[in-house]
Assembly symmetry: C2
Homo-oligomer: 347 residues x 2
Amino acid sequence: MTISMNERSRKILEAIVEDYIASAEPVGSKSVSCRHQMGLSPATVRNVMADLEGMGYLASPHASAGRIPTDKGYRFYVDTLLQLRPLKAEERERIERQYASSDRRIDEVLREAVKSLSRLSRYAGIVMAPRVEATVFRHIDFVPLAPGRVLVIFVSRSGEVQNKIIETGINLPAATLEQMTNYLNRVMNGLPLDTVREKLAAEMAQAKIEHDDLQQRVLALSGQALAGEDENARVYIEGTSNILDQPEFADVERMRQLYRVFEQKSQLVDLLDRSRRAHGIQIFIGNETSHSAIAGCSLVTATYETRQGTVGSLGVIGPSRMPYGQVIPIVDYTARIVSQLLEEEYQ
Amino acid sequence: MTISMNERSRKILEAIVEDYIASAEPVGSKSVSCRHQMGLSPATVRNVMADLEGMGYLASPHASAGRIPTDKGYRFYVDTLLQLRPLKAEERERIERQYASSDRRIDEVLREAVKSLSRLSRYAGIVMAPRVEATVFRHIDFVPLAPGRVLVIFVSRSGEVQNKIIETGINLPAATLEQMTNYLNRVMNGLPLDTVREKLAAEMAQAKIEHDDLQQRVLALSGQALAGEDENARVYIEGTSNILDQPEFADVERMRQLYRVFEQKSQLVDLLDRSRRAHGIQIFIGNETSHSAIAGCSLVTATYETRQGTVGSLGVIGPSRMPYGQVIPIVDYTARIVSQLLEEEYQ
DNA sequence: TTTGGCACTCGACCGGGGTGAGTGCTACGG
DNA sequence: CCGTAGCACTCACCCCGGTCGAGTGCCAAA
């Protein structure tokens, strides 16, 4: 009994993973030895499979079924066996076409991206917008809606618009607002948001010394409007019902769990955020996510970026039994396209 | 065999509907005659039930199960038998508290509403925002992002913000943009959106005569920015996973269908739009919706309105086997609160 | 008109035998 | 020593028949 991964064991593991991905059914020794004519008898294959099971790459659902890959098995497959199936030109074109109608506003682009991801992968697409903190100040505007109530609109350089209604308590004169608008737009333009915050704080201190109450108030408004949004709101999901077609989710209880996760989003935020910090393609398999509610699922993610260096992540979530070779290029290419579209903003 | 609905038949129908709502299981003659001590033997109840089945109010899933209400049965129940269970003070309070943190921006309010609906009803909440067409012009702003690319921001009087990036082709000078901003904000303020559109068209014609190409272009921009958004994007849904707890959705195929509907939204838009046109509480039961994909489901909807007279609708979607007496007051009260919050905008 | 009685229906549940895919073990041969 | 053939064994799955029980429909009596 060789407790090691020689060439033959790898080939067999590869065959099993691929068969299982294709069929969703436990694969037995015979089908491996037949379909992948490698001149080995079922009995030999069986011995190897027993070894692979011993090493934790395979598991048997029950005694007389075939084997299915474990998370560790998928991991090994993805890391060392997998060969990518690059996109055909027509597929690339199809992805690109998807964005033709979008007006390149970042949220529009991301919405198209999530649709495209789910359509192409036939799983659920997920996209996380870059954090507001990382954006650059472009424009601010105050629109008085009613006495004591002001709408503050903030525009980032990438064209993201954020707005908030703020109760001012007192009635701020339109002249003050306008003056402050001009001032802020002149001073803050092009600064990253955290710098803007610091400057605002400084200005407020200054205004306090000068006893300029109105100015101080308007500055406070701006600060409030720039407060980060709810993280969960920055996640787009689409195509969740695709996953329902997968045989592994015939069980209602699992679906229920999964949909809870989709609705809460916080676990997805966590994963996408982890992915964001590590650049490039990232793959989470099953329990590696350490979120037990999505056991049996994998995420394939990639990061995209804008010229400002702000970074978000996007990807696909589906069953671990996923054709990684196809999904990875889809995610990768989508991330590239998104980055490209968002960079064009400034050229 | 009396082919009519006398008092007794009604009582029995009521008992059956309520038992079924409570238990999700076909109800037999015995349980009716026992639990609702109305001094009738099971046999008598059976006779009545046979009549009710003949009239189409009940159906038997199979020969030796009890009866379950048909859509027609639910309809009769809702229209003539149902008694509402009004909300307790503490429940009303709980609803109101939900909105305490919201900044009363319309989309914020609606987002809270949809959460609250789903949490209270324990089904899925749905909310449709009023159509942009019905809003009133408050403010417009042009922010040049890059040469040939302008961000147009439009604010309605109720504080709704809509924005769009538009490729202008040529580089519009900042001065022209600013001038037009001031002009439009002065002229259009307070006009309903369709009037604004007409005026824009008129102005464009005028500009054309005067060969003022730049002006004409900016006006065109404004027109584009005011174009209505995608209808489907105006629907909020939340709490869909609540529905998965219902025993009638243990069947995966039905869930799948239902989730397709939630993802597409168009059928929901249709129903909410129907509801919007008819004021007040509206109830769609099962096939009455004429969308077969949501057979077995009911919608309870109500309209809300702003002072401007713009109207949207909100409600709850769940299985037809729904405690209407509880759900209706929830939906009704939520609609009132939303209307109230949106009216306060202008006081 | 209501009620008790009774035969009937039909799904749910249970247990058993057959089937077949797949395994582990062992013995044999290069 | 490694690969292979053979064989007994396991176990999910399917089909079958029987039982059970809830609920019905109908009829005759009160």
